[in-house]
C-alpha cells in the first residue's frame, strides 16, 4: 500500500466520520465540527491527488534545481487549491458559529431540533 492510498483512505474515512457526526449530533456546534472534519478529509484527499512518490515539496529553494524543477517536485496545483479551500472552509465555519451564537441568544438552546419554526 503506497502512501497515496493510505492518505486517501484516511481522507475518505474522515469525510464519512464527519458526515456521520453531522447526521447524528443534535448540538449545532458539533454539527459544525462534523462539517469541519469533512472539510479536513476533503483537503487530505485533494493533497494526496497531487502527490507523486519520491518527489519533494513545490518550494523553489536550494533543494530544487531550477532546470529540472518539473521532474523534482509534486504537483503544486492541488496544494494551492487546498490552501484556498482551507481559507474558505474556515470562513464558512466561523460564520456558522456566529449564527449559532445568535441563535443561542434568542432561544437559549443549542439543539438543532429546537429551530423548526419554518417547515412544510
Amino acid at each position: 500500500m503506497n502512501i497515496t492510498t493510505i492518505v486517501h483512505i484516511i481522507g475518505f474515512a474522515l469525510i464519512i466520520i464527519g458526515f456521520w457526526g453531522m447526521l447524528t449530533q443534535k448540538n449545532m456546534i458539533k454539527i459544525i465540527l462534523g462539517l469541519a472534519i469533512v472539510e479536513t478529509g476533503v483537503q487530505l484527499v485533494m493533497v494526496s491527488f497531487g502527490f507523486i512518490e519520491g518527489r519533494t515539496a513545490p518550494i523553489l529553494d536550494s533543494a530544487v534545481e531550477l532546470s529540472k524543477v518539473s521532474s523534482l517536485i509534486v504537483d503544486p496545483v492541488p496544494q494551492a487549491l487546498v490552501l484556498t479551500a482551507i481559507v474558505i472552509g474556515v470562513a464558512v465555519n466561523a460564520l456558522m458559529l456566529t449564527f449559532v451564537i445568535r441563535l443561542y441568544q434568542q432561544k437559549r438552546s443549542l439543539s438543532i431540533n429546537d429551530y423548526k419554526e419554518l417547515k412544510w
Binding site: 449545532m28 462539517l35 492541488p78 464558512v92 460564520l95 445568535r102 441563535l103 419554518l118 417547515k119 412544510w120
Partner: protein, 1049 residues
C-alpha cells in the same frame, strides 16, 4: 467596449475600500455603493447592446498576462452578457429595495452586497472550474452574512440550514474538481471539455463529473434536497430573498450550465429528469401553502427545476444553443423579474396569510404590479414565459418527447391554481384590519422598475416574434387604449368601444369570406349591440371596458389567426380577459378561479395537441393552422386533445362544472357576453378544426359519432340541470350549456344540413341568450336579487322586459313561428337524414323538457303575486331594453324570411358540403321535407289573433281585481305572496328524475382537486424544518443518484 474585468475590479475595489469611507456616514458610502452598482450596470448595458443589437463577437479576457491553463480566463459572450446584465440590473433594483434596511446596518451591508454581486458576475464569466468554486463561495458567504444581518429568529435559523446545505455542496464540489483535475490535468473548463471525451471511461472521472454536477444540483435547490431553500425563502427578509431567488439561482444555473458540455448523456438525462421532477412536485406541494413567501418559495424552486431540466435536455439532444436562446432565456428572464418582484411585494404587504391580501385591492400602486407579475409567472401572453413555454412545446413536440410536454403543462396548471387563488384573494378578499403596508418609496420604486422592465421585455418579445405580424395586434388596440382612459364616464367608453368595433368591421369584414366572415359578424355584431347595455352605468366602470374590448379583440384575432401560435395567443388572451371580467362580479372569487382553471386546462390540452402536431412538422416553422390537416400519425390524438380544449369552453358534459357559478357570479351584463358571444369561441374552434382535419376514426370508433353523443348528452344534461335551478342566471347558464350541445350534435353529423342547422343555432342562440340575459339583468338591476322565487308579478311593472322574455323563450323552445323552430327543424332533419334516430329522440326530449325551465322564467318572475317589497319597481333601464328589442327585430326578420340567414350560412357551408337546401320562393327544401318560414309565421299569427278575438267575444265581462285583493276558497292567506307558489317549483319532478342531475361531475372534479392537495400535503411533510433532516435528504439523494448513474456500471 469596456473590459468586463472592470466589473470584477470595481465591485472588489469598492467593496474593500468602502469601510475606509465609513466615517463620512452612510450617505457617502451609500452614494459610492450606488455609483459602483450603476457603473457596473453601464458596462453590462454596453455589452448587452453590443451583442443584441450590434455584431459584437464573444471575447476571452486573460488575467495575469498568461494564457490558460496557467492563468484564469473570463469569457464575455452573448449568454454571459445576458446573464451578467440581468444580474447587475436586478442587483441595482434590489439595492434600491433594500436601501433603508442596509443603511441601518451601515457600511458592512454595502460591502457584503457588492461582494455577492461580484461573486455572481464571476460565476457567470469564469472559465476556470476552481475559480468557479471560489466565486460560488464568495457569493455564498456574502449571502449568508447578509442573511445574518437580520437578527430575527426565522431569518437566523433559515440561514443556518442554508449554510449546512451550502457546506455539504461545496465539499462535493471540491472533491469533484480534484478528481477531474487528476484525470485531465487542467482546471480550465474549455480544456476539460476537449479532453474528457478523449479519455477512456475512467471511474474516477465519472465520479468527479457526478460530484460536480450533484453539488450544483444542490445549489440549484432541487427536490428533495431543497427543504433548506424553501425555509430560507420563507424566513429571510423578502428584499434579500427576492435577490437570491432571482440572481442567486440565475448565477448558479449559469455555472451548472457551463459544466454540461463535460457531462455524459446519462448524467444529462438524470439532470433533466431531476429538474422536471422538481418542477412538478414543487408545484404540487405549493398547492397547500398559505404563506405568500412560502408559496413563492415553492414556485421559485419549481421554476429553477424547469430551467435546469430544459438546459440539460438541450445539451442531451445537441440543440443547446437554440434552446438556450428560444426557451431558456425567456423562461429565465420571466422567472427572474416576476419572482423578485413578487417577493418584494410580499415584503411590502406585511401578512403571513394570503387570505388577508384583500387589503391590497384598494392600493393600486401594489395591486397593478402584483397582477402583472402573477400573470407573467403563470406564463400567459404576452410575457416572456409564454414564448418560452411555447417554444419548448415546439421543441419537445418536434422531438416526440410528449411525456415531457404533459408534465410541463400539468405542473404549469398546478402553479396557475395556487398563484391565481392568491390573486383572487388580492382582488376580492375581505378587508382585514391587521395587514399593514410598508409604503416606503424605495421599495415601491424597485417593484415598479422590475414590473416595467418585464413589461418592456414582454412587448419586445411579442413585437419581434416572426410568427406574429404586428398587424395581428390590431384587434387589441381599442382595449389597450381604454386602459389609459379610466377617467371617462362609462357611456363615453361604451361609445368608443362601439366605434372601434364599427370601424374594424367596416374596414376588415368586406375582405373576409366563409366561416371567418360568419363568425366575425357574430362576434362583432353581437358585441356591438350588447355594449349598449353596458352603458347603463352612471359611473366610470373602471377596468370593465378595456377587458371587454380585449376579450372581443381576442375573439376577432382568433378568427384572423393564420398559424397555431396566433391562435393560441388569442385563445389565452381571451381566457385571461374573460377571467378578469368574471372576477369583477361581487363574490366572484371562487367562480372566477374555477372558470380560469378549467379554461387554462383546456388551453393547455390544445397546446399539447399542437405539440403532437409539431412532431410531424419541422420545428422551426410555426405550424400554419391549415397544415394541421397534413398530420397523419397522431391525427386522432391531436384531434381529441384540441377538441377537449374546445369542449371546456362550451361547457361540454363532464367539463361544465364551471358554467353555473361563473355565469351567475359575473356582472349581469357581462354574463350576456359570456353566453351569447364567448361560448361561440369553442364552436368556432370546432369549425376550424373539423374543416381542416375532418373527424378522424380510431380503428372502428368514429369520433364523429362520439362527438354527436357528447353534444346530445350535453343538451339533455344542461336542460335537466336548468329545470331545477332557483336562480335565474344559473337557469340560463345551464340552458346555455344545453343549447350549445345541440350545435355540437348538429356539427357531428358532418353533413351540409347538419352544419346549416348548427350555424343557424349559433345565430339563434346568440340572439336569444342576448335577450334573455339582458332582460334578467334588467330585472336584477331593479329587484336586486336573482332568485326567482323572491320575484313574481312583475308583468305590470316591467312589461317591456316581460315581452322580451316571452319572445326569448318562444324562440329558444323551438316552437313556431320564431327562429328556434327553424333551428330545431333543421337539426331533426339532419339527424334523421344521418340515421341517428336515438340522438334525434334525445334532442327532441331535451327540447321538450326545455319548456319546463322556459315556463319558470315567465311564471315565477312575471306572473303570479307581486311581492310587497317590489311594489315600486320600475321598468328596466332603457339601456338594457334597446339591445333586447334590436335582437327581437332581428329574430322577427329571420323568422319571417329565414332565407336571409340561411343564405349567409349556405355561403359558408356550401363550398365544403355542397348544396343541402334548395329554395322555391320562401320555401326551403331539404332531402326530407320543406319549410316556409313566412307561411308558418302567418299561420301562427292568424291562429293567435283568431283565438284572441274568440276569447274577447266569448269571455264574460271581466271584473278587475287588485292584486292583493284575493280570497282563496273562502280563506284569506296570511300573506298574499304565499299564493304564488314558486320555490322548488319542480320538486315532484326532482323526486322522479333528480338522480339524473346529482352533481356527479362536480364531485369528480372536487375529488381530483382534493387528491392533488392531499398528495402535495403529504409530500411536503419531508420538509420537517430540521436542518439535520435536510442534510440527510441531501446525502441520501446523492447516494441514490450515484448508484443509479455511476454505481451500476
Amino acid at each position: 467596449m469596456v473590459n468586463p474585468i472592470y466589473i470584477v475590479a470595481i465591485l472588489l475595489g469598492v467593496g474593500f475600500l468602502l469601510p475606509s469611507f465609513s466615517k463620512g456616514g452612510t450617505k457617502l458610502t451609500g452614494a459610492i455603493f450606488f455609483a459602483a452598482l450603476i457603473s457596473v450596470c453601464a458596462i453590462s448595458y454596453q455589452w448587452l447592446t453590443g451583442f443584441l443589437i450590434g455584431d459584437q463577437v464573444s471575447v476571452m479576457i486573460f488575467t495575469a498576462g498568461f494564457k490558460p491553463p496557467i492563468s484564469i480566463n473570463l469569457q464575455m459572450g452573448m449568454f454571459e452578457a445576458i446573464f451578467t446584465g440581468s444580474i447587475n440590473f436586478m442587483a441595482l433594483f434590489g439595492a434600491i429595495y433594500m436601501f433603508r434596511q442596509m443603511a441601518e446596518t451601515g457600511t458592512r451591508s454595502f460591502v457584503l452586497f457588492l461582494l455577492m454581486v461580484l461573486g455572481l458576475n464571476g460565476l457567470v464569466m469564469t472559465r476556470d472550474i476552481f475559480n468557479l468554486f471560489v466565486f460560488l463561495e464568495i457569493t455564498s458567504i456574502a449571502t449568508y452574512s447578509l442573511i445574518g444581518m437580520d437578527l430575527k429568529l426565522k431569518s437566523l435559523s433559515a440561514g443556518f440550514k442554508y449554510m449546512i446545505a451550502g457546506g455539504i455542496a461545496s465539499v462535493f464540489l471540491l472533491l469533484g474538481i480534484i478528481m477531474l483535475y487528476s484525470v485531465t490535468g487542467t482546471l480550465n473548463i474549455d480544456e476539460m471539455v476537449k479532453i474528457i471525451p478523449a479519455v477512456a471511461n475512467i471511474k474516477i472521472l465519472t465520479i468527479g463529473l457526478f460530484l460536480v454536477l450533484f453539488s450544483l444540483i444542490i445549489e440549484m435547490k432541487q427536490f428533495p434536497s431543497n427543504g433548506w431553500a424553501i425555509d430560507a425563502y420563507e424566513g429571510v427578509a423578502p428584499g434579500l430573498t427576492g435577490l437570491v431567488a432571482a440572481i442567486g439561482t440565475g448565477g448558479v444555473f449559469f455555472a451548472i450550465y457551463k459544466t454540461f458540455p463535460m457531462m455524459n448523456k446519462d448524467l444529462l438525462s438524470m439532470t433533466a429528469v431531476i429538474g422536471m421532477l422538481t418542477f412538478f412536485v414543487s408545484n404540487l406541494m405549493g398547492l397547500k401553502q398559505k404563506n405568500p413567501r412560502r408559496i413563492l418559495g415553492y414556485s421559485s424552486v419549481a421554476q429553477m427545476g424547469l430551467i435546469l431540466s430544459v438546459g440539460a435536455w438541450g445539451y442531451r439532444t445537441g440543440a443547446a444553443d437554440e434552446i438556450f436562446m428560444l426557451v431558456l432565456i425567456p423562461l429565465f428572464i420571466n422567472h427572474f423579474f416576476a419572482k423578485a418582484g413578487l417577493f418584494w411585494i410580499a415584503g411590502i404587504v406585511k401578512s403571513e396569510k394570503y387570505k388577508n391580501w384583500g387589503m391590497i385591492k384598494n392600493n393600486k400602486i401594489i395591486l397593478i404590479p402584483f397582477i402583472i407579475l402573477v400573470l407573467a409567472l403563470i406564463g400567459l401572453p404576452p410575457f416572456p414565459g409564454f414564448w418560452g413555454k411555447w417554444n419548448l412545446v415546439l421543441f419537445w413536440g418536434a422531438t416526440k418527447n410528449f411525456t415531457w410536454i404533459w408534465f410541463l403543462l400539468a405542473g404549469s396548471l398546478i402553479e396557475a391554481v395556487y398563484m391565481l387563488r392568491w390573486l383572487g384573494y388580492a382582488l376580492k378578499g375581505e378587508d382585514t384590519e391587521e395587514v399593514k403596508f410598508d409604503m416606503t418609496v424605495s421599495k415601491n420604486l424597485a417593484v415598479f422598475l422590475v414590473t416595467s422592465l418585464l413589461l418592456t421585455i414582454a412587448v419586445y418579445y411579442s413585437w419581434t416574434n416572426e410568427a406574429i405580424a404586428p398587424i395581428y395586434y390590431l384587434p387589441f388596440t381599442v382595449g389597450l387604449a381604454l386602459f389609459y382612459l379610466p377617467f371617462l364616464p362609462a357611456k363615453i367608453k361604451g361609445f368608443i368601444s362601439m366605434s372601434g368595433i364599427a370601424v374594424y368591421a367596416y374596414y376588415f369584414l368586406p375582405d373576409q369570406a366563409g366561416f371567418n366572415l360568419f363568425f366575425n359578424t357574430i362576434f362583432l355584431g353581437g358585441s356591438f349591440f350588447l355594449i349598449i347595455a353596458t352603458m347603463h352605468s352612471k359611473g366610470k366602470r373602471v377596468g370593465f371596458f378595456p377587458l371587454l374590448m380585449l376579450m372581443i379583440g381576442s375573439l376577432v384575432a382568433m378568427v384572423e389567426a393564420k398559424n397555431t401560435l396566433q391562435f393560441f395567443f388569442a385563445w389565452e388572451i381571451m381566457t385571461v380577459s374573460s377571467y378578469f371580467l368574471i372576477m369583477r362580479g361581487k363574490k366572484a372569487q371562487k367562480a372566477a378561479l374555477r372558470y380560469v382553471i378549467f379554461s387554462l386546462g383546456g388551453a393547455f390540452l390544445i397546446l399539447i395537441g399542437f405539440g403532437y402536431a409539431f412532431s410531424e412538422m419541422h420545428h422551426k416553422i410555426v405550424l400554419p393552422i391549415s397544415l394541421l390537416g397534413a398530420i397523419e400519425e397522431n391525427k386522432s390524438i391531436v384531434f381529441i386533445l384540441i377538441s377537449i380544449g374546445f369542449l371546456v369552453k362550451i361547457a361540454g358534459i363532464g367539463l361544465h362544472t364551471w358554467i353555473g357559478s361563473a355565469y351567475k357570479k359575473a356582472e349581469d351584463d357581462t354574463t350576456a357576453f359570456l353566453s351569447s358571444i364567448l361560448s361561440k369561441a369553442g364552436i368556432f374552434g370546432f369549425v376550424i378544426l373539423i374543416l381542416i382535419m375532418g373527424i378522424p376514426k380510431i380503428g372502428k370508433i368514429d369520433i364523429a359519432y362520439v362527438l354527436g353523443w357528447i353534444g346530445a348528452i350535453t343538451a339533455i344534461s344542461g336542460t335537466m340541470i336548468a329545470i331545477f335551478q332557483e336562480d335565474a342566471k344559473k337557469l340560463l347558464a345551464y340552458s346555455s350549456m344545453g343549447q350549445v350541445g345541440y350545435i355540437i350534435l348538429a356539427m357531428a353529423t358532418m353533413s351540409g344540413l347538419g352544419w346549416t342547422a348548427g350555424m343557424y343555432q349559433v345565430v339563434n342562440h346568440m340572439l336569444i341568450k342576448g335577450i334573455l340575459f339582458l332582460a334578467i339583468a334588467g330585472v336584477i338591476y331593479r329587484t336586486g336579487t336573482s332568485k326567482m322565487y323572491k320575484m313574481g308579478g312583475l308583468i305590470k311593472k316591467m312589461p317591456l322586459s316581460y315581452t322580451a322574455v316571452m319572445f326569448g323563450i318562444i324562440a329558444i323552445s323551438g316552437v313556431p313561428p320564431l327562429t328556434g323552430f327553424g333551428a330545431k327543424w333543421l337539426l331533426y332533419e339532419a339527424l334523421i337524414e344521418k340515421g341517428w334516430y336515438l340522438q334525434t329522440g334525445v334532442a327532441f326530449f331535451a327540447s321538450t323538457v326545455a319548456f319546463l325551465y322556459c315556463f319558470r322564467l315567465i311564471h315565477t318572475i312575471f306572473l303570479g303575486q307581486a311581492k310587497t317589497e317590489f311594489k315600486d319597481v320600475k321598468e328596466a333601464p332603457v339601456w338594457f331594453i334597446i339591445p333586447q328589442y334590436i335582437f327581437i327585430i332581428i329574430i322577427m326578420a329571420f323568422s319571417m324570411k329565414p332565407k336571409l340567414l340561411l343564405d349567409m350560412i349556405t355561403f359558408a357551408v356550401k363550398p365544403i358540403f355542397g348544396e343541402s337546401l334548395s329554395w322555391v320562393g320562401d320555401t326551403a327544401f331539404s332531402s326530407l321535407g320543406y319549410w316556409n318560414g313566412f307561411v308558418v309565421m302567418n299561420i301562427v299569427m292568424v291562429l293567435f289573433i283568431g283565438l284572441t278575438v274568440l276569447l274577447l267575444i266569448k269571455a264574460p265581462k271581466v271584473q278587475k281585481v287588485k292584486q292583493f285583493n284575493i280570497v282563496f276558497a273562502g280563506e284569506r292567506p296570511e300573506t298574499p305572496e304565499l299564493t304564488h307558489f314558486a320555490y322548488q317549483f319542480y320538486k315532484p319532478y326532482y323526486r322522479a328524475l333528480g338522480f339524473l342531475v346529482n352533481p356527479r361531475v362536480k364531485t369528480f372534479w372536487k375529488n381530483v382537486s382534493n387528491s392533488a392537495h392531499t398528495i402535495g400535503d403529504s409530500l411536503r411533510k419531508i420538509y420537517t424544518g430540521n436542518g439535520q433532516t435536510y442534510a440527510f435528504w441531501i446525502l441520501m439523494y446523492g447516494l441514490i443518484l450515484f448508484f443509479i448513474t455511476v454505481g451500476v456500471k
